[in-house]
């Protein structure tokens, strides 16, 4: 094994150090994209993959360049490589963080239902009212975070779940409820509900989410979350919203039994 002060070994370690510094160049390219071009793109997975590939290419190009220079007899080529790398890192660090969010740059923000929200209206990217009808499982934690607010003294949440029922025949058990909605109308009704609730109580934020499709036992089919300055209003508003939703929204449920039969549940006529 060659002694540690063999110039070939020293050169190798110098080269490794220089290669590490080369990471500054990919950082620079990423920073360039982030600061100058569309910042929303910086979060897009395809662009991240493209940037990662560009970073690796840059790295290999630099190493190849170093090899070429070394072959021409430039033994201290690592110095040039290191300087370039350092330059890359310094440029990245020097790029100012403007502190701007996507919103303030005027990019389109969409609400949780995909509806466009005019950026002028948002100080907070969350819409004060969230109305959702969707096939995916509901999350109470998500609804709570949608309505959380520094001005709120209380958050009331109602979660409606599929309840086990018996039919008298021990072999015939309820296994799920299938929900169907006239989505265009139910969405409109739920937004009206939100508006009417705001007329009656000082609501800060609210979220109404209803699931369609199959909901198994114990799973949430509807969530109503309301935040208000004082708890009495939160309870009252939450209760009124779910009661009114149940009596008026254009949504229907079908009981799915263990023997394969189904029955539509008939409650009261659509009134709102």
């Amino acid at each position: 094994m060659a002694p540690i002060d063999d110039p070939r070994i020293l050169n190798r370690y110098h080269t490794y150090a220089a290669m590490l510094l080369q990471l500054g160049w990919p950082g620079f390219i990423f920073g360039l994209f982030y600061q100058v071009l569309n910042p929303a793109w910086a979060n897009a997975t395809p662009l991240v993959v493209l940037l990662a590939i560009l970073c690796l290419l840059t790295w290999f190009v630099m190493i190849r360049l170093a090899d070429i220079l070394a072959a021409k007899g430039q033994d201290d080529v690592w110095k040039y490589v290191a300087v370039l790398g350092l330059l890359g890192i310094l440029i990245v660090l020097a790029l100012p963080d403007t502190g701007k969010t996507a919103t303030s740059r005027g990019f389109e923000v969409v609400g949780v239902n995909g509806e466009p929200i005019p950026t002028a209206q948002i100080a907070d990217a969350r819409s004060p009212d969230t109305v959702q009808i969707a096939r995916e499982p509901l999350s109470a934690a998500r609804c709570i975070s949608l309505v959380s607010d520094d001005r709120a003294g209380g958050v009331a949440v109602f979660i409606g779940t599929t309840r086990a029922q018996t039919s008298g025949d021990p072999k015939r058990q309820l296994i799920a409820l299938d929900y169907e909605a006239y989505t265009e109308m139910a969405d409109r009704q739920m937004r009206d509900l939100a508006q009417k609730a705001r007329q009656q109580w000082p609501i800060l934020r609210l979220a109404i989410a209803h699931r369609i499709g199959r909901v198994s036992l114990g799973q949430p089919s509807v969530i109503v979350a309301v935040s208000t300055p004082h708890r009495a209003d939160a309870f009252a508003a939450c209760r009124w919203i779910i009661d009114t939703l149940k009596s008026s929204a254009a949504i229907w449920k079908k009981e799915v039994w263990s023997d394969g039969t189904t029955t539509w549940v008939g409650e009261r006529e659509c009134s709102a």
Partner: protein
């Protein structure tokens, strides 16, 4: 005039269809549309007295006059939530 008919839940199961187009004389009301549909889907004859009606996503009484291009929905008793 042509209007779009929407059926839901038990009605859709009974009629065997969820969406269809209906041709009606100008000035026809929801009641006229219902009569035309019962003629087309005899299996619905007993059901339509318990349904609510909606024109373009808003509830409407049976006597409401329809316009060309309206979407008329027949809504069985609701059971959401």
């Amino acid at each position: 005039m042509r209007i779009q008919i929407r059926f839901f839940a038990s009605l859709a199961d009974r009629a065997g269809v969820r969406v269809l187009e209906l041709s009606l004389a100008d000035g026809a009301s929801i009641t006229d549309a219902a009569a035309a549909l019962v003629a087309q889907f005899p299996s619905l004859s007993g059901d339509l007295h318990r349904v609510a009606f909606a024109i373009n996503y808003a509830t409407a009484p049976a006597g409401t006059i329809l316009s060309d291009g309206d979407e008329l929905a027949f809504l069985p008793p609701v059971s959401g939530g």
